[in-house]
Amino acid sequence: MKCQQCEKPATFHITELTGTEPQELHLCESCAKSYLTQGESAAPVAPTLANVLAKQLQIGKAAEELAKLDQRACPMCGITFFEFRNQGRLGCPHDYVFFEKELTPLIANIHGESRHVGKRPPGHEGGSDSQTELIRLRREMEDAKTKEHYERAAKIRDQIRELEKQVKPKRPAAGEGQA
């Protein structure tokens, strides 16, 4: 992991608890030293997730490119990259696929790793296209409703019901469920 303020490797990982939200800093020794010795009055850097990301993006991107990226919206939940950047929260599971190029270095930066090695959901078969499709359809239905296109909304609702039947709850065998 690189220092947030220069290019040296970050060896200090600081959680700042004084603000309304905790802030995580990843700094090299010399930047950490100057950070830790600065007075209470000095305005602290605000290395929120969004800022780390903004920095990461500025390194390799022209303003025009960045503006274009900001407008990209996930086809499932509709969140734009700009909104994610500002809020630090993603809009739906599909964002990890749709914004993969931008998220991969960010995730590597946060975790120092890029591959999950922990547990998996029991009986997970992989492939969740129909589930993310539901996110898109529900959003379209809401949109149709607010525009008073009720026929269209009803049509989408039928599609949703059909799809829900397919993805619906795994039913565990009776008698299970001892916690």
């Binding site: 929260r89 995730i107 999950h116």
Partner: protein
Amino acid sequence: MPTPQFQDLANRCGEWLRGSGPQSEIVMSSRIRLARNLAEFPFIRRCTESDRLAIEKQFQDAIGSVGDWKALLFSDVATLPSVDRQLLVERQLISRELSEASGPRCVYIDPEEQFSLMVNEEDHLRMQVMHSGLDMETAWEQINRMDDLLGERLNFAFHERLGYLTACPTNVGTGMRVSVMLHLPALVITQQIEKVFRSLQKMGLAVRGLYGEGSQAMGDFYQISNQITLGRSELDLVKQVGEVIPVIIDYERQARAFLVKESRKDLHDRVSRAYGILCTAQTISSEETLHLLSSVRMGVYLGLIQDLEIPTINKLFIHTQPAHLQKLRGAELPSADRNVERAMYLQTHLRRSNNGGSATDN
């Protein structure tokens, strides 16, 4: 008082202050939480009201179908009076985020208070298991089983390479946060606490105050937890946090021994003054109370106070917090009145305790 709900809870001590379990002199509690999301809904911030209701329904059905979970207390946080929400936060059964957010959200609570399931927090589901004392392995076994039970019933958002998908990329992978709450008064007095924190941070561990994110270290309580959630197995994360705790316990013990040896008189004075104020104050804030109780708690363990028992102190830690105090009083009180009520409560319970030997409060 708006509802009699949780009156029973308020009377009891709560898991994190039970004061039992391994190393409970310094380790208050061990907690593990998992973040999970349903694959077919947007993450919380993009949810409409009807999405949130549909999410609640899916969890209601899934949780309702688990045989052993019939006795869980359900609470609709969205319609809960604020004093009750605060009560659950003080007991560490729900997060401040769940308490203060808006829109449909709810929680299922184990009557023993060892676990809770928060629905529509930052992720669709935040489940947590909390055990008194240092007991992370058992907590992991328990939450792993709970997660399996729900994973068999629901489609959690899961990515082949990235693991469990979460609203914030800082939680992706295992979605797991292991945290241990420690009581470290001697490290604070000897001013070594900063040093300890810096070395923890170097190891990739986070240090937070009593009520988690953003809260100050009230009453010398600190939570130590993992930062990284991806690229390590759940057991590795438990181990990572687990390895460092005995070292900190040892530092705290050494600092206590040092204080007893090098400045016994000063320490005894400090502890006795704290005890004196708690017994005689006429108005006192919850922050000052936590601060003084912290000294007294250490004083009892070091034998500097003879006529008090640890369970009494642990109970006072929780019962003097704002929502608990009001719940026990049976009325909502403005802050100034709470400070008077708190002083009275402390007097009554400390006197009763040292007159009668053992505490017999309700």
